[in-house]
Symmetry: C2
Subunit: 245 residues, 2 copies
C-alpha cells in the first residue's frame, strides 16, 4: 500500500464543492500531468477546453441537467482533437490527410480519456474532488455550438473539479470475478443469480446515503435503463458529422 | 508536489521487462484499483481479459507486430463490455435491450480506458513499467477470434506490464499552450511555425536515445502518418459487426 493507491481506492464522485479557486501552481500541475499522459503513437490527439465563462458554464450545466456542473472551481471538456494534426499535415504540403479516419477518432478518444483519468488521480492526490460528466452528450449539437468545435474534433468527456463540500460513502461495485476473465471471454449468459450479492449490497448503500433517493438494486437499474431506445440514439451520426468516417 | 504526482510526471512507456512475476497481492491490488475506477452511470460496462496462455500471448504479439508484448509479467486487454448488462436485462424479463446502441459503445469504451489509466498509475506507483498496445487493432477480426469476443463487446486497448529492464528518457511533448483552450475552440489553422520549437526538441530526443532510430521531427512524423489511407480503415465496420449501431 502507498499513498497513490490509497487515493485511488478512495475514489468517489464529488457533487458539492467549496467556493475555493485553484492556485496557479495547482492548475499548472494538473495541466502538466495531462501533458505527460501516455498518447497513442505520440500523436497527442486530444485537447482540453477549460470553461471559465460563467454563462457558458451555466449553458453546459443545462445540457447536463445537473446544477453542480457549474459550481466547481474548474470545468474541463476533454476533446478528441485530430484537427491540429490535420492542419499540420496540410502545412507540410499534403493535399489531404487521414485525420477523419474512424481509427483516428478512436485514437483521439483514447488519448482524451487517458488524460482525463490521469488528471483525476492527480487532482484527488491534492485533495480535490472530481466528477465526470458523460451528460455533456445529452445534446451534442448544442454543445458543439457552444464550444465552437470544428471538423476532426469531438467532445469526449466533461470533468468538474473543486474542493469537496461533502463526504459521500464509497459506492459498492460488483465483484471483479464478474469482470475479469482469463484468456477468452466466457461462453455463458449471466443470470440474476450472478448479481444477487451485488443487488443486496447496492440497495443498502443508497439507503444509507439518503433515505429519499432510489433504492433500486443493480438489476432493476439496468433493467430500466437498458429498456427501450437509448436517449442518445444519434451518437454515431454526431461523430460522423464531424468529418469522421 | 507529492509521490503520486512524481509518479505521473515520470511516466514513460517500458518495452523491456525483467523476468519477474507479480505477487498475488500486487495482482489483487491492481484489480481492486480497476474495480474502484469511476464508471459511467455506475454501469461498470468494461471488463479485463488477462492473457496468461503463452501461445495466446505470442499470437497477440504477432498482431501487434511487437515482440515485447509477450514478455511482460501481465498482458491485459481492456474490453468494452455491454454483454454482461445485456444478459442481465434479458434475465430481468426484457425481450430486448439497448446494449447495442452506439452510445453504449461509447459508454463502455470510456469505462475501459478510464480503468486502463487508473491501473497504469497504480502499477507505476509500485515500480512496475507499462506500455499501452493500441496495436491490438492491427487485425481486429483475428483478435476477436483469439479472445472469443461475443456481440456487445469490443477490445478497446491492450496493456503489457512488468518490472522495467530499461530506463528510457522522458519523451518530449508539445507545449500545452497548443493543447489547452479557453471557452471555445480557436478559429485558426495551425502552421509549421507553431510546431517549430517542438520539432527541434523531439529530434534531439531521438538522437540521444539511439543513434540508429528515426530522428524525424514531429511535423515530418505527422506528415508521413497522416498521408494516404489509414492502415485501419475498417475500424467502424468492425465495431458495427459486434452489434453496435
Amino acid at each position: 500500500m502507498n499513498s497513490t493507491l490509497e487515493t485511488q481506492l478512495n475514489h468517489r464522485s464529488i457533487r458539492a464543492f467549496k467556493n475555493t479557486r485553484f492556485s496557479e501552481e495547482t492548475l499548472n500541475t494538473l495541466i502538466t500531468v495531462a501533458q505527460r499522459t501516455a498518447t497513442s503513437s505520440g500523436h497527442q490527439a486530444a485537447s482540453i477546453l477549460r470553461i471559465t465563462d460563467p454563462k457558458e458554464k451555466e449553458a453546459i450545466a443545462k445540457i447536463c441537467n445537473q446544477t453542480y456542473v457549474a459550481t466547481g472551481a474548474e470545468l474541463w471538456i476533454f476533446l478528441v482533437d485530430q484537427k491540429r494534426n490535420h492542419d499540420l499535415s496540410l502545412a507540410t504540403g499534403l493535399e489531404e490527410s487521414n485525420a477523419g479516419s474512424f481509427s483516428r477518432f478512436i485514437q483521439g478518444f483514447t488519448d482524451a480519456i487517458l488524460m482525463a483519468q490521469n488528471v483525476v488521480v492527480a487532482a484527488e492526490s491534492l485533495g480535490i474532488g472530481t466528477v465526470y460528466l458523460g451528460s455533456i452528450h445529452n445534446d451534442i449539437p448544442q454543445l458543439n455550438e457552444i464550444l465552437n468545435l470544428p471538423d476532426y474534433t469531438f467532445a469526449a468527456l466533461g470533468l468538474a473539479m473543486g474542493y469537496p463540500d461533502q463526504e459521500p460513502e464509497l459506492k459498492p461495485r460488483m465483484d471483479m470475478a464478474l469482470r475479469v476473465y482469463e484468456n477468452s471471454y466466457p461462453s455463458k449468459a449471466y443470470t440474476l443469480e450472478d448479481f444477487k450479492a451485488y443487488d443486496e449490497h447496492l440497495a443498502t448503500y443508497y439507503d444509507l446515503r439518503n433515505a429519499n433517493t432510489r433504492v433500486d438494486s443493480f438489476s432493476k437499474q439496468i433493467s430500466k435503463r437498458y429498456s427501450g431506445s437509448s436517449n442518445r440514439d444519434n451518437f454515431l451520426e454526431e461523430i460522423l458529422k464531424k468529418g469522421f468516417k
